[in-house]
Amino acid sequence: MSTLAPAPEALTILIAEDSATDLLLLSTIVRRQGHRVLTASNGEEAVEVFARERPQLVLMDALMPVMDGFGAARWIKQLAGEELVPIIFLTSLRESAALAECLDAGGDDFLPKPYNPLILAAKINAMDRLRRLQATVLQQRDQIARHHDYLLHEQRVAKAVFDKVAHSGCINAAPNIRYLQSPYALFNGDLLLAAYTPSGDMHVLLGDFTGHGLPAAVGAMPLAEVFYGMSAKGYGLVQILREMNAKLKRILPVDMFCCATLLCLSTQRRVVEVWNGGMPDGYVHDIASGKRTPLQSRHLPLGVLSAQAFDDRTEVWPMALGDRVFLLSDGVLDTADANDQLFGAVRLHQVFAANRDPDRLFEDIEKALAAFRGEARDDVSMVEITLQPGQSLRATGPLYADSGQSCPLDWAVSFEFRAETLKRYNPLPYLLQLLLEIHGLREQSGALYSVMAELYSNALEHGVLGLDSRLKRNAQGFAEYYRQRNERLAQLNSGFVRVHVQVVPTEAGGKMSLRLEDSGPGFDVEQVLARPLDIDRLSGRGLSLVRQLSSEVRWSDGGRSVCVEFCWGALA
């Protein structure tokens, strides 16, 4: 006996046929082709056998007593569910309508009587191929569904972990921050972080990772850790940027990076310091004049350049109380309408111009986006920070419960920071950590850091670099001041700042004297202190702050040396 293509694998085949002769004949043919045969002599029996034995293919006579082949086919298809169990009708019917009914009832093919063994074998093979295809499709569908569930689960976990890391800052607690982030913004790679520094300045980062979903969340975590950790310790933008860039460069693949704008808003100094690498323009909004100064992208994104090539230059802009900084992600500008036209900066400026109530700017922008596109995009991030007075100086670090029994109370230390160090190193976080070993000082850590920061920048900028604070009288001079500062610092090859710390116990508790010396020409202390404060809108604020926050300030050596004292009582 010859068959064109032998079945690759033996099947279990149910034959339902009421004629005993036909049943015997057909069973013999099918068995010879290598398959296992089950038999039934009417439709009801066929359904029973199918339910019990689950054969892979059914040969079904159309006309049978008790239950005909059409009824049995419907039952069997229902029992088979998603699995494909091919049913081939055996029929002596000739009319088209009757043949069509075979297929309507769920039959997959029909075989006219009398049987041709060659055609029968070919049909069984063809139906087996279909059956396998269906099984493969189902298997793959289930696999995809499992992977999908798994991915969703992973994303939920990643998001939960990420939310804990990302929201440990003050983004929700600070009264002067408003932000809008679409719920899926994180999984489109947007990241918004905010934290206070020890001196009460505020650091804000709006970032945008290439890539979506998990890769973005994975990159966001080390970024958030660096941001919060270093901000809390008193590091400045430059050090934080360098650390973030180096970390991302090390861990991310070459084609992944993070566009970011990093800000430091200082109410005490009335300035905002900005670094923008790859983000759309942000804006400083001068409320009095209505003018918006763009904060342009001057740098490559974070994670692209090596530490050596990284450019950490920041820009500093003056701000008055009530002025606002506005940042946005490219989701706003890249919102497209039906014709693939982008919303763009021009339309954003139209919204700015039409905005009457600054508190409703986000709503105005959202409305404009919705009108432009018809619906809101899901990866829009906006944040606005207002310069507000009265961010009180906060204690950082844990206040240990051991009452300071083990803390050092009688010691002195001196440092000399020379030109090459002054260029690239900020010693303040290190000094602060050292001084916070004294438990009595911890409650004053904010004030201590602010005073140290002022005295250090005075020693460096006015002393070593010889910059005149009167330059900062207006906005232009302000920019010029920071330009000169960067230029002179880059060219610095001599000079020093010395820091002397002296800690002694007192009857009430203890006293710390901090003395800073610089290599500059000094200044006329009495004249500068006599200068009325309101004339210098942008300058001179530092010294009054120092006098407010420390118990005593003394200058000596023609203004080249300054000494402040901090006292504390016995700890409860």
Binding site: D208, T210, G211, V254, D255, M256, F257, C259, G277, G278, M279, P280, S297, R298, H299, L300, P301, V304, A309, D330, D340, L342
Partner: protein, 101 residues
């Protein structure tokens, strides 16, 4: 979207032209365009004349090409970009890494 590449007769210059959207969808074809040459050209040119759109993953792909071409020493030119694409390259300051004209 389609990516076509062409090597100059002397084998020293590889030009990759991207038509339509240059985004994550072109990732594999863009990589294939420069990875399949066993000989390393001296100069790579990315021709964006017919590129209508470019997203940040396309910027990532340019970084991959630069890395493949030797990183700091790489010579990669990005030419013929339209104003929208040029804006994206400008915001990211990619002119600091690539010769853009």
């Amino acid at each position: 979207m389609s990516v076509e590449s062409e090597v100059s007769l002397d084998g020293k210059k590889l030009t990759i032209a991207i038509k339509g959207r240059f985004d994550f969808g072109s990732h594999q074809t863009f990589r294939d365009a420069y990875e399949r040459y066993y000989k390393v050209p001296e100069l790579y040119v990315v021709d964006l004349k017919e590129t209508t759109y470019m997203d940040s993953s396309a910027l990532g792909m340019l970084l991959l090409l630069r890395d493949h071409a030797g990183g700091e020493e790489a010579q990669v030119q990005v030419i013929n970009s339209n104003s929208d694409v040029r804006k994206i390259l400008a915001i990211s300051n990619f002119d600091k890494l690539f010769d853009i004209n």
